[in-house]
Symmetry: C2
Amino acid sequence: MPRGRPPDERSAPTLEQVARVAGVSIATASRVVTGAVPVSPDRRARVQQAISLLGYVPDERARDLRRRVHKTVGLLVPSLGDPLHADVFRILHRELSRDGFTLLVFETTGKADAEKASMDVLVRNHARAVVVAAAAGLAPPILQLLRRRDIRAIFYNDRPPQPAATCVCVDDHGGALLLTSHLIGLGHRRIALVAGALDGSTGVDRHAGYSAALAAAGSATDPQLVAGFGWTSEVGRQAATGLLRIADPPTAILAAHPSLAAGALIAIRERGLDIPGDISLASFFESDYLRFVDPPITCLGGLGAAVAAGIMTTLRTEHTGLVEIPLAASIRGSTAAPPVRA
Amino acid sequence: MPRGRPPDERSAPTLEQVARVAGVSIATASRVVTGAVPVSPDRRARVQQAISLLGYVPDERARDLRRRVHKTVGLLVPSLGDPLHADVFRILHRELSRDGFTLLVFETTGKADAEKASMDVLVRNHARAVVVAAAAGLAPPILQLLRRRDIRAIFYNDRPPQPAATCVCVDDHGGALLLTSHLIGLGHRRIALVAGALDGSTGVDRHAGYSAALAAAGSATDPQLVAGFGWTSEVGRQAATGLLRIADPPTAILAAHPSLAAGALIAIRERGLDIPGDISLASFFESDYLRFVDPPITCLGGLGAAVAAGIMTTLRTEHTGLVEIPLAASIRGSTAAPPVRA
DNA sequence: ATGAAAGCGCTAACAG
DNA sequence: CTGTTAGCGCTTTCAT
C-alpha cells in the first residue's frame, strides 16, 4: 500500500480536514461546497467557517475525475501575435472561465508536428473540444483520433478539410466584396489586391470576393494587380512596391491581412505617396496599429468578438455545421476618391 | 455507491481495459506505460499492442492525483499582444511542455480582480508556480495565499512588491544607459525620452538609466525632453509631437517601449522628418515591426528568450532571489549622427 | 438532513 | 518479474 505520508499541514487542505475541523462528515462538507443539496444552517455555518479557517479550495482535478466530466477546451492558433487570434483567445478565455472551463492554448506556427503534439496534450487532459485556426495542417489521422475520443473540433478562419466538420467561418468572400465595392463606389477603377497565400480557403475566398466585386462593376481582374502571396509584412511591402511601379499603377490597394497592410503602408510611404490623396488603402480585419496610423485605415471590424461568440454558441449548443460570421466595414481616413487624372 | 455506468466503449479506454485485452494485470499495464520498472518482453509487447489497438492515452489528471504532483504553471500577463509577453509565453510553453507541464495563461490587463480570479483558477488546478508580469497589482493577500499554498511566484519585467520575492528582471537601468550612451556616442546632445508610466519599476528604472547616461556625459536631464507617461502608441505619438515642437527640439528620441516607438515614428513622419538624417530613434525591446519599418529601428534585443530562460532556470533550480537579464543592443538604421547645425 | 462507503483512473508499495 | 491492493481528493448513492 502507498505510504500515506503524515498529513502535511503545509500542503493543500482537503475536504476531509475541513470535515474534521467542522465536526461533520465528509459528505456534508462536500454538500456545502457544491451547494446543491440541503444542509442545516448551523452545520453549513460550521463548515464554511472551517473552510475559511483552513483556506480550503476544492481540487478541480479530483472533482472532474469523480464527476467524469471534462472541463478543458483547447485552442490551436498559428500565432498569438495575430490580432484576430489574440482577440479570439481573449474572449474565449473569458467566456469559458465563466463556465468554469480551462482553456489550453497552443501556438502551432502551422507545423503539423506541433499540432500533433498539442493534440496529444489535449487528449491526455481530456479536452472536451478543440478550437482550431490552422485547419490546413490538421492531418486526417488526428481528426480521426478526435472523433474516436468524442472530442468536438471547431474550426475557424480557414474552412476545414473535412466537409461536414463544425466551423465558424468569417465570410471572407463577402468581406472582400464589401471592401472592394466600397472602393469602386468611391470611383476607383485600378484596385490592387495584396492577396495573401492562396493555399487555404481564407486567401482563395478573399481573392474570389475581390474578383466578384470587380466583375459586378463590369471590369475583369487584371492579374498584374494581384500580388503578395504570403502573410507577413515583408511580403506586403514587396508586393506593394512592385504594384506601385507598374505602368498603370493602382489608385487603391486592398490588403488581405493587417500585416500585409503594414507592409503596403511602408511601401507607399517609401514611394512618397499620400494616403488617401494619391492612393487609398483598405485592409482585412482589425489591428491596433490600423487605428493609430495616420490616416487610420479602413478595415473589416469586430471580427474576433464575432468569431468567439460563434464558437461559444457552437460549444454550448452542440451545434454542428457551418456558422458564417457577417462582416462590417469600418470606413476610415485611408480610403477616399481617387486622384483626378488626365 | 455511484452507479458505475456500463463500460462505454465510446469513452476513453482505461488502463483496466488495456490490461484485460492484453491479458495482464493492471499493474503490469501501468508499468509498461510509465516504462520505469522491468517487464518481460512478451508481456510488454502484448500490452503495447493492446494500447495501440484501443488507442489508449493515460489520463493526466488521474495520474497527477495519484502521484500527488502538480504539473501546472500559470502565466499572468497584462497583454498577450505585447511582443515581450508573447515571446515569454511561446518559449515558456515550449520548455514546460518538454517537461510535461501545462501552462495556463491569463491576460489580466493589469486589473486586480482579473488577477484574483486567475489566481483562484490556478489554485484550484494546483499550480506549482505562477509567473507574473503584472507585479504592481498583485495584492498582498494573494501573495499570502500563494505562500500558504506553497506555490512559487516568479515575477518578471516589473520588480515585485515584496523585496525578497523571486524575480527575473530585465536590467532596465542598464538598458536605458546602454541605448542613451549609444546615442551620446553618436554625437547627440539633445536626447528625448518617451518614458512610459512611472508607476512601476520598469518606467522608473529606464528613466534613471537615461539620466545616468546623461550625467556621465556631463549633461543634466532636461525635464522638457521627457514625456509620454503611458504605454500606448497614442501616448507615444502625442509625446513625440510635443517634443518636436519645442524651441530646441531633440535630435534623438529614446522610446521605453515598442508601442511608444510606433507612436513616435508616426509623429516624426507627420512632421516630415527623416530618420536618421534629421532625428534618430531607438526603442526598448524587440517587436516585429521594428525590423520591418524603414529604416529598421535600433533596439534592445533577445529579451523574451533571455527572460524565459531565466524563468526556466528559476523554476528548475528552486532558485530564490533576483536574476538580472543582461541586455544587448541591436544597432540598426534608425540611429546615426545628428544633423550638423548652426 | 446526514453519514458510510464506493469508486473515477491511476501508481506504488508489498508480497509472492 | 508479476499480481493484489490501498488509496490520491472528491461526489454521490444508499440507507438511515
